[in-house]
């Protein structure tokens, strides 16, 4: 039995009440919530890529990636896609929500040490990647050059704009490449899909790990480009999504083969995914 550093002491299925201390409107349909315990502490200490179960009592409960944490808070970003996420978007600062976690495995922060990192995000897929980006900056000496490639449908759909345009470009030995599918009158950056831009940027597949997350169709084509550029599937790391209820590998629904995404995932290398049944 692992000590799961869970918010809820001896029952991993019962959440702890926390409060939302800050809400950031990232895009018209994505908000970021900063959450802390009622006594002002950090609910738990997640590793990059780990998940948290966030619940609105009386509405529902769902698993989201914990995108960042600070001294006394954690953050998650939620896109409006259904009943529960709509309800999240109606919250005001100060509202109490249930939190349990952290769940799942995390990005391989140790095996990536000493390597250059290429982070690729598409749409809300930057959310899980962001936790590793922040981790890498916090442990800057452990990692080589960092490239961040991010694409969204339009300039209005770009998430974490402050990080993308202000914070991250200032970090040493770091380059941020942003692209949009369709520009608008104010957009001066690159226009085009992620796979094309990726090939244009011509990253060398030497001593470099790729962390990749986004909608399935983007993953598919980006992976094709990466393989063409000479990256191996072992070096491409991604996260999976499945419907989840318990978060601790009991309720059964998030299995792919004998693996549970909530327990053995959500982080897998592309090589590991090849080993699993094609049922995603």
């Amino acid at each position: 039995m692992v000590n799961h550093d869970c918010t809820c002491k001896d029952n991993p299925l019962v959440p702890q009440l926390c409060k939302v201390i800050k809400i950031t409107q990232e895009t018209p349909d994505v908000q970021t919530y900063r959450v802390q315990t009622l006594d002002g502490k950090r609910p738990f200490t997640p590793m990059p890529g780990q998940l948290g179960m966030f619940s609105l009592l009386g509405v529902g409960e769902a698993m989201f990636s914990v995108t960042a944490y600070g001294e006394d808070w954690i953050e998650t970003s939620i896109k409006k896609t259904g009943m529960l996420t709509d309800a999240f978007h109606e919250m005001a600062e100060g509202q109490q929500i249930g939190v349990r976690g952290p769940y799942g495995n995390h990005f391989p922060v140790d095996p990536c040490k000493g390597k250059d990192l290429l982070f690729i995000g598409g749409g809300i897929g930057l959310a899980p990647v962001r936790s590793f980006i922040r981790y890498a900056f916090a442990h800057r000496a452990d990692y080589g050059k960092i490239d961040i490639l991010y694409g969204s449908r339009s300039p209005a759909d770009l998430v974490f704009k402050e990080d993308l345009f202000d914070n991250w470009p200032k970090e040493p030995d770091t380059a941020v490449h942003v692209t949009v599918d369709r520009g608008d009158e104010t957009w001066e950056g690159n226009v085009g899909m992620v796979p094309g831009y990726l090939e244009e940027l011509a990253f060398q597949p030497v001593n470099r790990k790729v962390i990749l997350c986004g909608p399935p169709i983007m993953i598919k084509f980006t992976l094709q480009s990466l393989l063409k550029m000479g990256f191996s599937k072992e070096d491409c790391i991604t996260t999976l999504e499945m419907r989840m209820k318990c978060g601790i590998g009991k309720c059964g629904r998030c299995n792919i083969g004998s693996k549970f995404v909530c327990l053995d995932g959500p982080v897998f290398t592309m090589a590991e995914l090849d080993e699993l049944p094609d049922e995603m």
Partner: protein, 333 residues
């Protein structure tokens, strides 16, 4: 030690002081289940597999997890319920199913507190099979109708009663309780053999996974109606859903049985469903029973109780599937 038939009711009366006794009970002409003992009549131990398995005792069909309030000062209060219970007359297959559920709920990184609390207070008294039913096939799944190694206490049929074998500390406590009612002697009746046989093997489990795209799944799923009968009557199916019942400002979070045969089981918020049709769902169910669970926990998740075979509306038969696959993939025993 032997417990004579005439001592059964006194023995149950002694047990009743330790907790609620659940015995195989016919609810009506079609349905039987483990229900509280009435305190006076001899339980019907000849019932070959109750319609509903005993898993409800440890993993209730519906179980409150916590009560919450959202009006005023929000609050959460965990629901703790773990009555002392004795499952009496559990068949070897059902005893094994509890063993399977223990592997899921008590281990694998997290302990499920709700299950663990109930489990600690449940004593399992198994009873060997004097006869098998037409759909029983436990001896093809590595079990024996005469053994239930994971039960706390085993009752084996003799001419005049039952041999009492304590197999755990809990079982020894029961045996000690019964010491005035039991005596030396008695010989266990020979174990009956299952009439339904199937060709399950370790090799086949592995092959099935590697034949994920084989047309066999398409062939076998046609007759399936996509109902949840097999999963709800299965003693080892442990999937659950979590939801709440809200009464405006307060409510209860609960979990209840769920079935992998239903479309909304894996459907995600955006509408994408990784298992969109009954082919994928049936494949997942069969593979979970026969292969995935073994990969993860080291044993097969099918105990051969035959409930799914006996109750499937379309008369689908997992043993027929196993044999068909074994024949096609050349992985017989």
């Amino acid at each position: 030690m032997q417990l004579k038939r005439e001592n059964l009711i006194p023995a149950l009366r002694l047990l009743a002081a330790q907790g609620e006794i659940l015995v195989p009970t016919a609810v009506d002409e079609k349905v039987s289940k483990f229900a509280p003992w009435d305190g006076s009549s001899a339980p019907d131990l000849a019932l070959v597999n109750t319609t509903l398995p005993p898993k409800d005792t440890l993993f209730p069909h519906q179980e409150g997890m916590y009560r919450y309030k959202t009006a005023g000062e929000p609050s959460l209060e965990e629901i703790v319920e773990a009555p002392a219970r004795i499952l009496f007359g559990v068949r070897p297959c059902d005893a094994r199913s509890i063993d399977c559920m223990d592997k899921v709920f008590l281990g694998d990184k997290y302990e499920d507190a709700f299950y663990a609390r109930r489990r600690a207070n449940v004593t399992v008294i198994a009873h060997t099979c004097a006869q098998t039913g037409p759909t029983c096939f436990c001896d093809s799944m590595g079990l024996s109708p005469a053994e239930a190694p994971s039960a706390d206490l085993l009752l084996s049929d003799t001419e005049t009663g039952w041999l009492v074998t304590a197999q755990t500390e809990k079982g020894e406590a029961v045996a000690a309780l019964w010491k005035d009612l039991t005596a030396e002697g008695g010989e266990a009746a020979p174990a009956p053999a299952c009439t339904l046989k199937t060709n399950m093997s370790d090799a086949l489990a592995g092959t099935l996974v590697s034949r994920f795209e084989d047309p066999i799944w398409d062939e076998v799923c046609h007759a399936c109606l996509g109902c949840g009968t097999c999963t709800y009557l299965c003693p080892t199916c442990y999937c659950f859903d979590i939801n709440h019942e809200d009464h405006g400002g307060e409510g209860t979070q609960f979990r209840c049985w769920d079935s992998c045969m239903f479309s909304d089981y894996t459907r995600m918020a955006g509408g994408h469903n990784p298992r969109p049709s009954k082919k994928e769902r049936l494949r997942n169910r069969y593979l979970h029973k026969l292969a995935y669970f073994k990969e993860r926990y080291g044993q097969i998740l099918c105990v051969g109780c035959g409930r799914c075979v006996g109750h499937c509306p379309s008369h689908l038969d997992i043993t027929a599937f196993i044999d068909k696959a074994a024949e096609r993939f050349g992985e017989g025993k």
